[in-house]
Symmetry: C2
């Protein structure tokens, strides 16, 4: 197995986390989703709930940062102000992701890990997407979201993930060119997606 | 085999056509790349060389169309002017692609076939991308391009394909969400990509 770190980026509510969990189980390697947040929380002192939002979704702090940087120029902004909270969280998360990759084979869910680990040649980057009906069903069942404005809320989560990724990485979230493999989980199903990833990684 | 039409979109010089040809051979189904252009040429009277460029790459005619539509509003433009040449080619190609899909199982390379056939539920959409070094090698070997400005020329072809796709379809060229599967051919290799597609399609 030449590629030993698997990063899984995903649209909201398409089963990416479940696929990653199955892959880690089948390959008997470590799995980092909330587990990653727990480590960042322990090292940085931030609450897990706070990291869950700030580490992957664009928020008011990041928007303020982007807007102010654009207005006054990034260098000037950095000179005149303390590092914004969203950047601090990003740096903490970035360092932990690099450390975990160093530790050994694993699956890392989201958080721009594909971009953070782009200088390594043992990383396999996957993106999972799915049709809206499939995602709606999962959002109701697993994310306990309400039926009212469901599609709008799902798309809002995607948009915030995309904005976070596009701000901190060189690529565009969801662009096939960032990933080695992308799969539509509503076409293949969760189990089959995990099997496809495992078979490909074991063949490499 | 529930999915019987395979569309393969691809970056320039990443081996997408070769992968499609292998898939068609392995599955013993029809293959349309230049074969499609020959049919469009026969029905429309346009030269194949002209269709090769106009049917997939943004060109002066399409740029004029886009710019003029933006200036005067699309409806007014359509009322006052004859349909632009790029639109005529698109319509001819669009109709042939729909007819071919109706005829039976096949592989169709490029030309926005994924978007043209989006209302069918028996279509499997694939996008192939690859790292730049791999594409450079193929561009020199198979497309007989010159070493000078090679990367720039490759990216120019991508950009023109993207602009054509983005103008005529609802999606964004290369965005994983348009496709059921995307593969990086420089990671897997041409033969393996064809095998992956065949195995997946036969399992569905």
């Amino acid at each position: 197995m030449q590629k030993k770190i698997i990063t899984i980026s995903r649209q909201f509510a398409c089963g990416g986390k479940e696929i990653g969990k199955l892959v880690a189980k089948k390959l008997n390697i470590d799995f980092y989703d909330k587990e990653l947040l727990a480590i960042v929380a322990k090292k940085s002192g931030y609450a897990i709930e706070f990291l869950e939002e700030t580490g992957e979704y664009v928020n008011a702090s990041l928007l303020f940062n982007v807007a102010t940087s654009a207005m006054v120029g990034h260098r000037q902004f950095v000179q005149n102000h303390e590092m914004p909270l969203s950047d601090k969280v990003y740096v903490a998360q970035h360092n932990i992701i690099k450390e975990l990759a160093e530790k050994g084979p694993c699956v890392i869910i989201g958080r721009g890990a594909d971009s953070i680990l782009k200088d390594r040649d043992d990383v396999f980057n996957v993106f999972i997407c799915a049709d809206m009906d499939f995602r709606k069903e999962r959002a109701l069942k697993y994310h306990k979201m309400e039926e009212k404005n469901l599609e709008k809320e799902i798309l809002k989560r995607d948009k915030k993930r995309a904005a976070h990724y596009n701000h901190y990485s060189d690529g565009t979230w969801g662009d096939a060119r960032n990933y080695h493999l992308t799969l539509n989980s509503s076409v293949f199903g969760i189990e089959k997606c995990a099997d496809i990833i495992c078979n490909l990684i074991q063949d490499m």
